[in-house]
């Protein structure tokens, strides 16, 4: 049977505030266990939460970035469940009145097609603590540092129809929250986690099939792989005439499979109700408008500007604007060399190649954007040709100094002195008298093909340092005799 996959995503983004959502404890990855907790985070009786102003501002920024209605009155609710890393017995979240209402994103896939993914809502909630099961016989260790860390949960409509589209959507959310500076985007440290709701239905059917939820997938690659394996698992069951059980599953990257986490018996019954410890959050229009006016340039706006101001292709513009760090690198290097196409080619070509090779993010490039721009200046003014520039970049990468230092130290400067080039060409012509005779006896079409031989000889003799832009016309003139 021909199945259509239906996917909706819930993305938890950790907001990069200094303190927690409801307490004045520090937020930070990697601190010693339980050193960033307060009476509020430990759920001590009588401890009362106070809402963090900055978390509110960040949520409203996100709402504007996805063209959403902002909840002018939002209400915190308690989501009740028992687990030792949730000492209060409830997670403070939002239910009926989230801070961000309906919005959407237009997602561009690799093949250039665009599709609109609806966003149902985004709400503020606190994270739970961490349970460590491995080290203790019959006991579980509890670290509550993460407890009450602010999260924005972004819930999409079931509008996604493929693994590729899901990844493109998550990448776009990732790029928006990092552009806005509201999340560090570090998926390895859990700053962005994704729950995948997935079901299959026969192509053409309107009704949705029974879905499963794959929890806490934390990399782009795992999202794609988890979706592929879950599609396969569900299709196998359905094609054997079986039924899908609505349940929570876990993706195991090592075995590349999903497996059941919670049985249906414990089906979630969270008994939400408004949190009596927190009052409704009421916003003024002025507050919301001010935040809108102060939004930084978003990835899609930046891509459009790169196309219009720099005449870059749609593809180049979207690659260069995909992360704020990449876009900043490009713009800084461009500021030095003032040639957008040249900068774009080198950033997307050689720079990306070296970054991939050393598995580095552009933020950690050993060659700064300014230094990179200075190298490109030497390409543009013909001090060195492209091939030499790659060698110079390699040396810069190894920390051997600036482009100019390396060009000077290694004597890589192109020969641009007309007299020197003429002398070099003359000696080549003298050494290849027979070929020169043949050239002169040929018609123009044939000559065009033959000139390559002489260019090659000249470049060889100059060890690649002769400026090809100068060699060609001088050579043509001298060959005429």
């Amino acid at each position: 049977m021909n199945w259509e996959v239906v996917i909706g995503l819930e993305i938890h983004t950790q907001l990069s505030t200094k303190s927690k959502l409801f307490s004045g404890a520090a937020v930070g990855f990697g601190a010693k266990p339980n050193t960033q907790t307060t009476l509020v985070d430990l759920g001590m009786p009588g401890a009362l939460p106070v809402f963090n102003k900055e978390a509110l501002r960040m949520a409203v920024m996100f709402g504007h970035a996805i063209n959403a209605e902002i909840g002018m009155t939002s209400v915190f609710a308690r989501k009740n469940y028992f687990y030792p890393d949730l000492p209060k017995g409830y997670q403070t979240s939002q239910m009926d009145h989230p801070i961000v209402g309906k919005g959407y994103l237009d997602v561009t896939l690799d093949d250039g097609t665009t599709s609109r993914v609806g966003i149902t809502r985004a709400h503020l909630e606190e994270d739970a603590g961490k349970s460590l099961h491995e080290d203790y016989q019959g006991m579980t260790g509890i670290d509550l540092n993460r407890s009450s860390t602010p999260l924005l949960e972004i819930v999409s409509e079931p509008d996604i129809r493929s693994a590729k589209e899901a990844v493109a959507y998550v990448k776009m959310i990732h790029s928006i929250v990092t552009y806005l500076g509201i999340c560090d985007g570090n998926m390895a440290e859990g700053s962005m986690r994704c729950d995948i709701n997935l079901s299959l239905r026969p192509k053409g059917q309107q009704e949705y099939g029974t879905r499963t939820e794959i929890k806490n997938v934390n990399s782009f690659r795992f999202i794609e792989k988890a979706i592929y394996t879950e599609i396969e698992r569900q299709a196998d069951i359905l094609e054997d005439g079986g039924r899908i059980i609505q349940e929570t599953r876990l993706y195991d990257p090592e075995k590349n499979e999903t497996r059941s986490m919670r049985s249906k018996e414990d089906a979630n019954d969270y008994r939400y109700f408004p949190c009596p410890d927190l009052l409704p959050v009421v916003l003024t229009q002025e507050y919301v408008d001010d935040i809108k006016a102060s939004l930084p340039e978003l990835p899609s706006q930046k891509a459009a500007r790169f196309q219009s101001d720099f005449s870059l292709s749609e593809y180049d513009a979207s690659v260069l604007s995909s992360s704020r760090a990449m876009a900043d690198y490009f713009e800084t290097a461009y500021g030095v060399v003032k040639d957008a196409k040249l900068t774009a080619n080198w950033v997307m070509g050689e720079l990306s190649k070296l970054l991939n090779q050393d598995q580095l993010d552009v933020e950690n490039s050993p060659v700064t954007a300014n230094a990179f721009g200075e190298l490109l200046v030497r390409v543009k003014d013909n001090t060195i040709n492209g091939k030499t520039a790659k060698d110079v970049l390699q040396a810069m990468w190894q920390g051997e100094g600036s482009a100019d230092d390396i060009i000077e130290a290694k004597g890589l400067k192109q020969v641009t002195d007309t007299g020197a080039i003429e002398a070099m060409i003359q000696s080549i012509l003298d050494a290849n008298a027979a070929q020169v005779e043949q050239y002169r006896a040929s018609d123009e079409d044939k000559q065009k093909k033959m000139i390559g031989f002489f260019v090659g000889q000249v470049m060889k003799a100059s060890k690649g340092k002769a400026n090809p832009g100068m060699v060609n016309p001088i050579l043509a003139r001298m060959l005429k005799g």
Binding site: A26, T35, E54, D96, H97, H133, G138, M139, T140, P276
Partner: protein, 95 residues
């Protein structure tokens, strides 16, 4: 509207309360009366009345995003029956 024994047991389980058989009977009766009261209230015409999430006619105050609390781990751990290496230890929660 009334609820049966199974409902009572489910609610007790969700709240992690251990009930005796006698308790179940008693809760079945008292919870049913609460629901009867709610049912009675539902007959009131509430058209045009906004749902109330808090009886206080005030809005939430906000806190500046500043770290105001220091590390008091030793004091917090002192209350726990069992700890190790800065962690609270609880009976194992996964199989």
């Amino acid at each position: 509207m009334s609820i049966d024994k199974q409902d009572v047991q489910k609610i007790a389980h969700l709240a992690r309360l251990a009930l005796t058989e006698d308790d179940v009977d008693q809760y079945q009766h008292s919870l049913s009366s609460v629901l009867a009261l709610v049912e009675q209230m539902q007959s009131v015409d509430t058209d045009g009345v906004e749902p109330l999430s808090n009886p206080l006619e005030m809005t939430q105050r906000l806190r500046e995003d500043i770290v105001t609390e220091e590390n008091r781990r030793d004091a917090f751990l002192a209350n726990a029956p069992k700890t190790d290496a800065g962690l609270f230890l609880v009976p194992q929660v996964i199989e």
